[in-house]
Symmetry: C2
């Protein structure tokens, strides 16, 4: 991959000398940034006036254009002081993945003495001091001390740049492997690591490399120190390992080999509270930590997942070229990866993503159950669901059609699968978070508990014998009504999911961008859908989708169908916990005066918990001695 190496630092640090030498050793072109000042700047400088940021703008843009043009042909070295972060942003604009920063650094005394030892230079100490004051130390650069000789410096740069990997990936399970291929396919130079376990996990990285041509320049490791040492600093290491204690173990194993400013990315489904703890722990060790949700399954990991990184923005800025490049692209070709917010917010958002996913899957399962009860076979059900693509398309809808059609020895495979649905924690955590944050995420909870109930297989078999007389009679219903019911429930599910995120954002002060979160879920991830694309727009206007005129109109059309289908299923004894809950939540949510006043009265009766009154706008709490005159 072609690269532009920017050599930066204060005046007198030796940028030109090092740049020239490097260009010769690497056999690539050398450019001195100062040669590209526009006429006006040169005249201004000649007249002794200092340049301001406005003057610099045009110049930096022209250097950026130079870099872009050169990249078409090959690699090059450009020297330029680039003291401020926003100068560097302009220089690297649009070519973030191809830019390497080398920061030549030294103490004020060293550089002052060196400069004034040269015959043809004289720099007043005020001017150098001004440069030091202006310098915003780059975090994402190879930093080299100028007390080394130019030759030593160039050797060091070459080792860092040429021999070392830009990115490390640790943990070669299904997801880790596919992310490695994705990174390599995008031209990144990476190292990959998998632990060695005698007889169980041996030469995993090496063997994996040999299986795929695109991994030919990837460096495989099963020695942790060698893996860490193979990565350019500041190191970017992504963990793709099981959530839980393993993450802490691996972090503690890594720590002795890391240096200040290195970045660990946890790409697993970690609990957001744990991510916050780890963030703080690693902060105390001067290591950056990014908790990044990654969704898209096997296929997404390979072709472009949706990525939800949380942590501090400075650390994110150092890894975004990698993450945003490998991420899926939305309909406007923007990456489905964007900075979520501080602490564990990335993993929180991923957790809610999975919660929404639980409910979306359960809704499809309920539709499947209804159509089965109506006497249809899997192929017939697939035909019905396929016809819904026009109005209700989604990734999950699509794979459901494939699943229903899959046959094995002439029979549908679905009929052979045991009806116990597993779970790996995120649906559980989403329900816990909803309970703790006071957000009524009833569809996520229903979907979770439906999976739990599925585990009572033996009890279910017994209970059917005990309680059900015969097979239920065939249910007759309008397929349009069923589609409307499904769509209605999906809107409620998405309302509740985004409401939960919004509640967390408020509670924890995360300041999350709901619309952008919906946008990065429009491609790459498991819950991508036409509805999500619509919601990315809707959420630009309001944090609650139930206030959008478009959604309101849809609900008004869909709701009567939902009433019909759900009451029919209740009568026919078909289990539909999620569909049913969507209606009950909506009916509660649209009841201005609910019967919760009775609950509050009961609480005051037995526990003196007090109540507020509708005729007392002060909001004060009242207590009644209820049972005295009763």
């Amino acid at each position: 991959m072609n690269q532009v190496i920017f050599i930066i630092g204060v005046s007198g640090v030796g940028k030109s000398t090092v740049g020239n030498l490097l260009s010769k050793e690497m056999n690539i072109l050398f450019f001195d940034g100062d040669d590209y000042h526009p006429k006006e700047n040169i005249e201004k400088m000649k007249s002794g006036k200092p340049l301001n940021d406005e003057d610099r703008y045009e110049w930096l843009i022209s250097l950026n254009e130079l870099a872009k043009a050169q990249l078409e042909k090959g690699s090059c070295v450009i020297v330029c002081s680039a003291l401020k972060e926003n100068y560097r942003e302009l220089l690297g604009q649009g070519i973030e993945n191809h830019v390497k920063w080398v920061h030549l650094s030294g103490s004020f005394e060293t550089i002052y003495n060196r400069m004034n030892a040269r015959k043809d230079h004289f720099m007043p100490s005020e001017l150098l001091k001004y440069q030091f004051d202006t310098l915003e130390i780059p975090q994402n650069a190879i930093t080299i001390n100028v007390e080394l000789t130019p030759t030593e410096i160039v050797t060091k740069i070459r080792t860092e740049l040429m021999d070392k990997s830009e990115f490390g990936l640790l943990g070669l399970g299904v997801m880790g492997k596919n992310l490695c291929r994705n990174l390599a396919n995008n031209g990144f130079k990476i190292s990959m690591f998998n632990r060695h376990v005698d007889g169980i996990e041996e030469h995993v990285a090496k063997d994996f490399k040999s299986e795929h041509e695109e991994l030919s320049s990837v460096r495989p490791f099963d020695d942790l120190k060698e893996f860490v040492d193979s990565i350019q600093s500041p190191r970017k290491i992504m963990l793709m390992i099981n959530a839980g204690k393993t993450v802490d173990t691996v972090i503690n194993e890594l720590l002795p080999f890391l240096s200040d400013g290195d970045i660990i990315i946890d790409g697993g489904n970690s609990n957001y509270n744990k991510t916050k703890e780890r963030f703080e722990y690693l902060e105390s060790k001067n290591i950056h930590f990014i908790g990044a949700g990654v969704s898209g399954g096997e296929e997404g990991a390979l072709k472009g997942p949706s990525i939800m990184p949380g942590g501090n923005i400075e650390a994110y800025n150092m890894v975004h070229p990698f993450l945003e490049t490998i991420a899926a692209k939305d309909e406007n070709n923007l990456p489905c990866c964007s900075y979520i917010g501080p602490e564990g917010s990335g993993h929180f958002v991923k957790m809610v993503h999975n919660g929404i996913e639980y409910a979306e899957m359960q809704l499809l399962a309920e539709v499947f159950g209804i159509l089965k009860a109506a006497g249809k076979n899997p192929d017939e059900i697939a035909v019905v669901i396929e016809s819904w693509k026009e109005t209700a398309n989604s990734y999950l809808l699509g794979i459901t059609i494939d699943i229903l059609r899959k046959k094995e020895n002439g029979d549908w495979l679905i009929n052979k699968i045991l009806d116990k649905a597993g779970n790996k924690g995120t649906g559980n955590w989403a329900t816990v978070a909803a309970a703790e944050l006071g957000a009524p995420s009833t569809l996520i909870a229903s979907a979770l508990f439906a999976r739990y109930t599925s585990y009572y297989k033996e009890d279910r078999v017994d209970a059917q014998k005990t309680f059900r007389n015969s097979s239920t009679s065939n249910i007759g219903m309008s397929l349009d009504d069923l589609l409307n019911t499904y769509q209605f429930a999906r809107i409620i599910n998405h309302y509740q999911g985004f409401n939960l995120i919004n509640q967390a954002s408020t509670n924890y002060g995360w300041d999350l961008n709901l619309s952008d979160i919906a946008r990065i879920w429009t491609a790459g991830c498991i819950i991508k859908s036409d509805l999500m694309t619509e919601l990315a727009e809707v959420l630009k206007e309001s944090t609650t989708i139930l206030k959008s005129e478009k959604i309101i109109q849809q609900i008004k059309i869909l709701k009567p169908s939902a009433n019909k289908i759900v009451s029919q299923c209740i009568t026919q004894e078909i289990p539909i916990p999620c569909l049913s809950e969507s209606i009950n939540f909506f009916n509660s949510f649209t009841t201005a005066n609910s019967s919760a006043n009775l609950i509050q009265a009961q609480r005051d009766f037995f526990g003196a918990h007090t109540y507020r009154r509708i005729d007392d706008p002060s909001g004060e709490f009242h207590h009644t001695k209820w049972n005295l005159n009763s």
Copy 2:
């Protein structure tokens, strides 16, 4: 209150001397236990044969009878070596609240030397050694070192017994105050403490004492050290303070004043995980900790609550005379307090009690909402609900009738109460526990989320305007069907609650007795009901009430009504999350072959999570490459 003071200890420790002196100083009768041996024992001892436990049985029983008879007349002192715990149990049988143990204790050397210094006694060292080996040191006794003079010993006993309280209660909120009155009404000598906060909480304990005659002999404190010092050791101190960090703060404030073997009881609604942590923390400090759920509200605390204590059984045995005496009594006059199990199990069970309570309250609120929608006013609704007492009586049903009838200035008070239902944590924790333990406690979750939704008052008012056309038309329904629906949902709620307890019992190895838990919920607590009384029997046979023939028959009668009412409410857009969920859970639970196979197929499709097959009894996991031939 009359007392029997047993002075116990190994031979030669000076029991008779001390007992005689004490009886004179206190002006009460003295009995030497040895005088009450039956003839056979005396002969056996004369013949030089040692007594065995069988020989002792009759003798101990006669001493117990002596004690009982004396108690009718006044207090007394009885001396008796009573070296083993089961001897002491026999001695105290049926008079646990009136027995005080004084253990005279000294080292082997001290006693050996003292005995052989007496002219008329000689005890071979083997015999004394045998006594020391036999001695099971009593934990619930006033222990006094015999190196003091008899007069000093008697003074110490008197101080401990006469001047000190038997029980301390810390925290005089609504519940704490009523528990103090309950303890005092039962004749216990107690100390009570409330902190001093300038200008806010001043002289709380003192003022409270002056308000109630029954508290005349209670000792009030606002100085913690004085409070602790006023209690007999081992001290029994019950905390009635807000759950949360306050509990840790108070424990740490108490610790410097406590001695080894003292007992703290946390009677608040603490989280069971915290109770486990505190149990372990205090164990490391040699302090016993009992986490005890207390239910019954204000009235229960005064007249007899239901108490659910967890911790170690030894500590419970020291406090049960207090707790079981103040507890409510069931229909067989047994106390509604019984040892639940280890660690935080008492608070876990209380948490589920509250979860069941949440759902029971929500079900009544839903019934109220349905009858309101049917056009009935609160008095008319009260008439309907009152007629249900015959088949569905419960404490909550009863107070609901009172609430509905309460008027204020000619209007029903219920109509003035704001419909935002608060919560204090236990419903939330119960939902979290259900999610974490994998138990489908859907009614508790629905009830919790219904309260959360009630908090969206402003959104609800807006949404009603946006989404609802006009007032819903009056709903016509059979009141019998409604009662059946309510009863059906209550059975499901109780099934799920006990299932959650059973799941925790299995997971944590607590070995809980579900029937006994139901029994202590038949009186004193908020969820006492005729159904609970029935379940205490049902749960003797099975850990799941849905396997009881009686319950099965009830469900078969009730379910058709529930189908009717719930589908009607859905059609009429009346929110009934809990009623509806009871049906959906039951329909899921009675579906032998559910559509969870589709969910498992989807999980395998996008995440390679694998599935099991109905045609592979090995239970092995299978994976399909789903999208290759689709």
